[in-house]
C-alpha cells in the first residue's frame, strides 16, 4: 500500500458529525490525537459551516429556556436539547459562534456560559464588574465572536456608566485560549438606544458590530465594529438611506453584515453589505410593506439565514414567527413557531468540536 494520500482520512473525518467523531476518538490514541488536534477541529468547523443549522431558544415567562434544533421543512418535529446546566440560572441568550452558545445571567451578565451543545461541554465565566455610585446608570453588553487571526473565541464586554449627558465606557475582552480577561484601553463615546434594540452585537469578519448613536440615546445611526484581533473600534459605513431613517437591528447573512431598518415608517428593509467595508456594496435585499406582512408596521425583525441557495431569506419576526421572503418575487410566506406566551429566538449554529 504505497502513496496513501494522508489527506484522505482527514478529509473524510472532517465530514462526519460530532457524534461519530466522539466515538472514533475513544477507539485509539492515534485517532484521539488526530481528532483533538486544533488543526482538525478547525477543518471540521469549516466543513460544518457549509451548511447552516438553526437553533431555536424558546422561553415562557417565569420558566426555563429550552433549546431545540429547527428543521424548516418540518418545524414541529424536533427534540429538545438537553442542557448540562440549569437554564434558569442563565436565562439570557447572547448569541452563537461556530457551535458555541453564549448565555448569561441577569442583571449585568455577571456570569457568562459558553456551551457546546454537540459535545455537551460548557464553561462558566465570571465577568469583570464595575459598580457605579448610586446616582449613575450602568448598562453592560456582552457578545461572543471568533478571532480568526489568533484562532481564538473571545467575549467582549462593554460596560457603560454615567448619566444622560456624559458617558464612561469600559471595554474588557475574554480569550478562551488564555482563559482570562483583559481590559482594553479604547474610547467608546457612543450611546445605545435601548428602546429600539437590545444592544445585541453580531460577529462578522472577525469583528463584533453594534448599532449606536453619537448624539443621544434616541438616535440609531452608526455602525461601530470592534476588531477581535487588533482590539480596536472603527466605524463601518451604512447605506445612505439610513442617515435619516433608523436602523433597528443587525444580522449576518451568508457571512455578510446586514442591517434592518424602517424606511420612512412605511416599510421594513433589510440591506446587505456585499463587500465588507465598502459603502457602495450595500444593496436592498428585502422590503416588507404592510401589504406583505398582514400585521402592524412596528415589528421587530431579525434576519436569520438564506434558503434555497440564496433565493429566499428567513426573517424572524416579533420573536414569534418566520417570514420566508422570496427575493426575486418580493413575496413572503409565514411559518408560526412561537406564540403569545412563548417567545422564540433563532440562531445559526453548527455542530463543532470546539473545546471549552
Amino acid at each position: 500500500m504505497s502513496d496513501v494520500p494522508p489527506d484522505a482520512l482527514v478529509n473524510i473525518l472532517s465530514r462526519l458529525p460530532v457524534k461519530s467523531l466522539l466515538r472514533c476518538r475513544s477507539l485509539s490514541k492515534t485517532e484521539r490525537a488526530l481528532i483533538d488536534s486544533p488543526h482538525f477541529v478547525n477543518l471540521h468547523t469549516k466543513q460544518s459551516m457549509k451548511t447552516d443549522k438553526l437553533l431555536v431558544s424558546s422561553k415562557r415567562t417565569h420558566s426555563s429556556t429550552s433549546f431545540r434544533p429547527l428543521n424548516l421543512d418540518s418545524p414541529q418535529t424536533s427534540v429538545e436539547l438537553e442542557t448540562p446546566f440549569n437554564t434558569t440560572d442563565f436565562p439570557k441568550v447572547l448569541g452563537t459562534c461556530h457551535g458555541l452558545v453564549c448565555l448569561s445571567n441577569m442583571p449585568f451578565d455577571r456570569f457568562i456560559v459558553l456551551w457546546n451543545p454537540a459535545t455537551q461541554k460548557y464553561k462558566v465565566i465570571l465577568t469583570p464588574m464595575v459598580y457605579p455610585s448610586s446616582s449613575n446608570v450602568l448598562i453592560a453588553f456582552n457578545q461572543v465572536g471568533y478571532d480568526h487571526v489568533n484562532d481564538d473565541y473571545k467575549v467582549v464586554r462593554l460596560i457603560q456608566t454615567g448619566g444622560y449627558v456624559w458617558l464612561n465606557s469600559m471595554v474588557f475582552v475574554y480569550s478562551l485560549k488564555l482563559n482570562m480577561w483583559r481590559s482594553v484601553e479604547q474610547r467608546f463615546p457612543y450611546y445605545f438606544n435601548l428602546a429600539l434594540c437590545q444592544g445585541q452585537g453580531v460577529c462578522v469578519n472577525s469583528a463584533l458590530h453594534w448599532v449606536v448613536s453619537k448624539k443621544t440615546h434616541l438616535g440609531n445611526d452608526l455602525l461601530v465594529s470592534f476588531d477581535l484581533a487588533s482590539q480596536s473600534f472603527q466605524l463601518v459605513p451604512h447605506p445612505e438611506c439610513f442617515n435619516s431613517d433608523m436602523i433597528t437591528s443587525l444580522g449576518v447573512l451568508g457571512g455578510c453584515l446586514c442591517v434592518v431598518g424602517y424606511r420612512e415608517l412605511r416599510s421594513i428593509d433589510v440591506w446587505v453589505m456585499g463587500e465588507y467595508g465598502v459603502k457602495e456594496s450595500w444593496s436592498n435585499l428585502v422590503a416588507l410593506t404592510p401589504g406583505n406582512v398582514s400585521r402592524c408596521v412596528f415589528l421587530s425583525v431579525r434576519p436569520i439565514t438564506y434558503l434555497k441557495n440564496g433565493k429566499e431569506v428567513v426573517l424572524e419576526v416579533n420573536q414569534q414567527w418566520f417570514e420566508i421572503y422570496d427575493i426575486e418575487k418580493k413575496t413572503s410566506r409565514q411559518i408560526m413557531i412561537g406564540d403569545a406566551s412563548r417567545r422564540i429566538s433563532t440562531y445559526v449554529y453548527q455542530e463543532t468540536l470546539v473545546r471549552l
Binding site: P6, L9, V10, N11, I12, R15, L16, S20, T30, A33
Partner: protein, 155 residues
C-alpha cells in the same frame, strides 16, 4: 463539423485509452502535463489500473457532456449519475481515492470522500466496528501515514 483533439492515456496494464482533450483535461494533473508539453505521444499513468481509469474517464465524460445549466433536469440527471457511480465496493472506492487524488479531480474527490463519510455516518457502533475490522489494514495505513503527516507539519 470540426475534429476535436484527442489525448492518449497509457496505464499500468499497458492499455491505451483515447480520450477527447476536453475530457482529458478534467483531471488537473493531465491538464498540467499537456501544458508542459508532455502529451506528444501518450500520457503515462503507471499507477492506475484499467478498471479504475475507465471509471474515472466515464465520470469526466459525463460531467463534461452535461451542460452547465441550472436546469432542473440536467442537475437531477447528473445527481443520479453520481449516486450510481459511487455504488461501488469499498475496495474500488479506496482505489478510486488513490487514482483521483493523483489525477487531481476535485469534484470527484469530494464526491468520494462524502460517500465514505456517509457510509460511516449511517452505521451503528457494531456495524462501524465491523467495517473497521474488515478495513483495518487500510485504516491502520491511513492513520499511520496521517500521523506521520501531522508530525512532519509539527501540528
Amino acid at each position: 463539423m470540426s475534429f476535436s483533439k484527442t489525448i492518449m492515456l497509457r496505464n499500468y496494464d499497458g492499455e491505451t485509452f483515447v480520450v477527447d482533450e476536453v475530457v482529458a483535461v478534467e483531471p488537473q494533473t493531465i491538464e498540467h502535463m499537456i501544458e508542459d508539453g508532455c502529451a506528444n505521444t501518450s500520457i503515462p499513468l503507471p499507477n492506475i489500473t484499467s478498471k479504475i481509469l475507465s471509471k474515472v474517464i466515464e465520470h469526466c465524460k459525463k460531467h463534461v457532456e452535461t451542460p452547465n445549466s441550472n436546469e432542473k433536469d440536467a442537475k437531477a440527471d447528473l445527481k443520479s449519475f453520481d449516486f450510481d457511480f459511487v455504488k461501488a465496493d469499498q475496495g474500488t472506492l479506496f482505489d478510486l481515492i488513490l487514482a483521483v487524488n493523483y489525477l487531481n479531480i476535485k469534484g470527484l474527490l469530494d464526491l468520494i470522500y462524502q460517500t465514505i463519510a456517509d457510509m460511516i455516518k449511517g452505521k451503528t457502533p457494531e456495524e462501524e466496528e465491523e467495517m473497521r475490522r474488515v478495513n483495518a489494514w487500510v485504516f491502520s495505513c491511513f492513520v499511520g501515514v496521517t500521523c506521520l503527516y501531522f508530525k512532519s507539519k509539527k501540528i
